[in-house]
């Protein structure tokens, strides 16, 4: 049975707890190492290409990174509650994005309203999926649940292609997207869309943290995340809580897809690539840390943008390689991620 240590050790007496201090020191060291690497690369990039190019790449990286963080967030929510990675998260988000497009097609609705409707719908869908396909299985039967999520991956991709076709569609941005709608800093454009996205993402994380720490369901969620058996003994409805986490993850994923879509285009496979980046972000931040997902997303986005932008021979089509390298490096050097808790096995 995995026991998560440091969540409980964050209260006042934590200062006395040797393990908590060790954990915090290790975490700080890891973050510092990553930041130092990033700073070194940035210094080289500044000398190599000048300030304007660097700032542009930096802004791009941060914007993308926040969106990867949102994708990672939806993975983390499900992982925290159930201990499984939802492989169908990408296709689920893609379906949510198509739902928003359909709502937009129905009539003159503001984009924000369409996104909200899609989020609600996909939240409901996530809850139904959990109830029908996931709950019948034993929570520890990971292989069967992975199979179910892979079946959903395949089925949703095919379904979207069947209903909406393969033609890439454009998605309107909820923020002004014109050529003039940008702040220019030292020659680099920081578009209003990027700013709006960043604000929205950060707001989402803040709201999520608040929901998880203030509401009764959030409390139950954190309890289940820390120990399923004990939560059951305490009288928490495990099924309901897991269902809540699936709904939340589906809604967050839909939001992420709708925010990514304006800068790319919508087709049945457009979230699959993002899924890999989201995995990288979630792994980097630690799969069981909400804040870590955001930070991991930022770092992943930055490294993808900087490495593909500056290293010769690594074109933009090799962004996936950078994401893969991030996953491998994290697993090799700090398997729990920057902010994650190492699961301890009691034999």
């Amino acid at each position: 049975m995995g026991t998560v240590l440091s969540e409980t050790a964050r209260d006042d007496q934590a200062g006395l707890d040797v393990i908590a201090i060790r954990l915090r020191q290790g975490r700080l060291r890891a973050v510092l190492i990553v930041l130092a690497l990033l700073a070194a690369f940035s210094a080289w990039a500044l000398i190599d290409g000048g300030l304007q190019l660097y700032l542009q790449r930096f802004f791009d990286g941060v914007t993308n990174g926040l969106l990867y963080g949102l994708g990672a967030l939806s993975l983390v929510i499900v992982f925290k509650a159930t201990g499984i990675i939802n492989f169908a998260q990408g296709p689920m988000a893609m379906l949510g994005c198509y739902l928003a497009l359909t709502v937009l097609d129905l009539g003159p609705v503001p984009v924000v309203a369409a996104i909200v409707v899609a989020m609600v719908l996909s939240g409901l869908g996530g809850a139904v999926l959990e109830r029908v396909l996931i709950r019948p299985f034993d929570q520890n039967n990971h292989m069967a649940i992975i199979m179910v999520t892979l079946a959903l991956f395949l089925g949703f991709n095919a379904l979207a292609a069947l209903i909406w076709g393969f033609h890439p569609k454009s998605f309107p941005s909820p923020f002004p997207q014109g050529a003039a709608d940008a702040i220019v800093i030292a020659g680099a454009r920081l578009s209003y869309q990027a700013i709006g996205t960043a604000v929205l993402v950060v707001a989402t994380v803040v709201v999520l943290e608040a929901v998880l720490s203030r509401t009764r369901l959030g409390l139950a969620f954190r309890c289940v995340a820390s120990d399923v058996e004990r939560s059951r003994l305490l009288g928490i409805d495990i099924g309901r809580t897991v269902q809540f986490s699936w709904a939340l993850a589906a809604a967050v994923g839909t939001l992420g897809a709708c925010l990514i879509a304006p800068s790319t285009y919508v087709d049945p496979g457009f979230m699959n690539k993002i899924l890999v980046y989201a995995f990288a972000a979630a792994t980097l931040g630690g799969l069981d840390s909400i804040r870590g997902a955001l930070v991991g997303g930022l770092l992943t986005g930055l490294s993808v943008s900087l490495v593909t932008g500056y290293l010769p021979g690594v074109g933009s089509e090799l962004g996936l390689v950078v994401g893969f390298a991030v996953i491998i490096a994290v697993l090799q050097f700090k398997p729990a991620g920057l902010f994650g808790n190492r699961a301890m096995e009691r034999v």
Binding site: L150, A158, L162, L320, L331
Partner: protein, 433 residues
């Protein structure tokens, strides 16, 4: 009342030889049964994909590691064959060892992160590999032909002495089928040997109880890397065989979807059994050819998009199998077969040498204890002389062959001289008499 056959006995050996001969006969006769080019090509595809699914089964069914990277291995093998044949004029069959070596190396490389991580992280890593492969193919365009694909000019030719006449209309396809089927049979035999070997047993132990396996001396790291490498090599061979069947390779042929389809086929056929790869491959190919054609012909989908229907059907099939028949088709067939024929394990010769003194007293004090674990006490000659004997042997090892189960711990502990000295001659003789 099922027919009872003792493992390793004369009837068992005859049964095995008979079914092997029948299988060989079916394999040889199949192309003449379906005497048309597309259908023989389909058979070849089935044989090739069976190898890929077998590789996946070794990793997932026997070693308990999940992998979505199989499409990358199949692609690696396919590109190896096509590039060597097209650019360097190699004979087709000579490329198979090369793709084995390449895929072994890459599989071991992917297996290294598998040491640190379990289950889901691993699946994430392998998913990234599968997503990466087409991007790499496009990136190294001068080698792989990029998005336009790579073709070998000439299909495989049969030598003069081969017994199939290649100058008929179906001839070349049949030649290719025999070659592919021969390599596939070889790979099945290799898999059988691996799974019965020490390291194969270690894989199963690792799947069932990782901690206990590590505690009893299984090198977890080595076994996992080995399983990954072997599974990758099987995927590579399958890719080469597919390239023999149709000498072309393109990035869209080896996407993540292929991995998931292979998983569907594995689970539907039955993971954790070798023969499950065969129904799995049949399902895989039938889904992608017949069902796809049928769906494309449906009037309501404007004649396009057959692949989407196949995707949805595969997803539903996977869900149905996971819910209703977790052991797959092979598992279901085994359950039916057990009603007809039941195999029992022979009582190992010289089992008394391993019996502890205390347990001797204990079992002889309880006369003729009914034992549910042993299938049929009358099947072996030794049980009639000592009714308590099967409870001490067969309860410890009901599923595996008792001789090997008995020898594994002694080989594992190595150093202790008392446990590792089998003395079959003295006690075995007394039991028989």
């Amino acid at each position: 009342m099922p027919l009872v056959i003792e493992r390793g006995g004369r009837r068992h050996r005859m049964l095995l030889a008979g079914s092997a001969a029948a299988g060989l006969g079916v394999l040889l006769g199949l192309p003449y049964l379906f005497y048309s080019v597309p259908q023989v090509d389909m058979l070849s595809q089935m044989a090739a994909y069976a190898v890929a699914i077998l590789g996946l089964s070794i990793l997932m069914g026997y070693c308990g590691q999940i992998s979505l990277a199989h499409s990358a291995f199949v692609g690696l093998g396919g590109y190896t064959t096509v590039i060597l044949v097209a650019d360097h004029d190699w004979p087709y069959l000579a490329t198979i060892p090369v793709s084995i070596v390449i895929c072994l190396a890459v599989g071991a490389l992917i297996g290294i992160p598998a040491l640190r991580i379990r289950g889901l992280y691993l699946a994430a890593v392998t998913l990234a590999v599968a997503a990466l492969f087409p991007a790499l193919v496009i990136r190294f365009e001068e080698l792989t032909g990029g998005t336009s694909g790579k073709f070998a000019r000439e299909a495989m030719q049969a030598p003069e002495w081969f017994f199939v006449n290649p100058y008929t209309r179906v001839g070349p396809s049949i030649v290719r089928f025999y070659v592919i089927a021969a390599v596939a049979v070889l790979m099945f035999l290799v898999a059988r040997a691996i799974l019965r070997s020490r390291i194969g047993r270690a894989m199963v132990a690792l799947r069932d109880a990782p901690l206990s396996a590590a505690a009893s001396g299984v090198h977890v790291a080595r076994v996992k890397i080995f399983a990954f490498a072997i599974s990758g090599a099987f995927g590579g061979v399958a890719g080469s065989l597919l390239a023999i069947q149709l000498p072309q390779a393109s990035d869209t042929r080896y996407t993540l979807d292929l991995s998931i389809f292979l998983l569907v086929a594995l689970v539907a056929g039955g993971s954790g059994t070798m023969l499950g790869a065969i129904p799995g491959a049949i399902i895989f190919v039938v889904l992608r050819t017949y069902v796809s054609d049928w769906a494309s012909a449906l009037p309501m989908f404007h004649g396009g998009d057959g692949g989407q229907i196949v995707g949805i059907i595969s997803a539903l099939l996977l869900l149905a199998i996971v819910f209703l028949m977790p052991t797959g088709i092979a598992g279901g067939l085994t359950r039916i077969g057990r009603r007809l024929v039941r195999f029992t394990d022979p009582v190992p010769r010289g089992w008394q040498a391993y019996r502890l003194a205390a347990s001797t007293r204990l079992t002889s004090a309880r006369p003729a204890s009914p034992d549910p674990a042993s299938a049929n006490p009358t099947s072996s000659p030794s049980t009639s002389s000592n009714p308590a004997s099967p409870s001490s042997t067969s309860s410890s090892s009901t599923s595996t062959n008792p001789t090997s189960a008995r020898q594994t711990p002694s080989a594992e502990s190595g150093g202790s001289p008392t446990a590792s000295s089998p003395r079959p001659e003295n006690s075995g003789a007394t039991t028989k008499g």
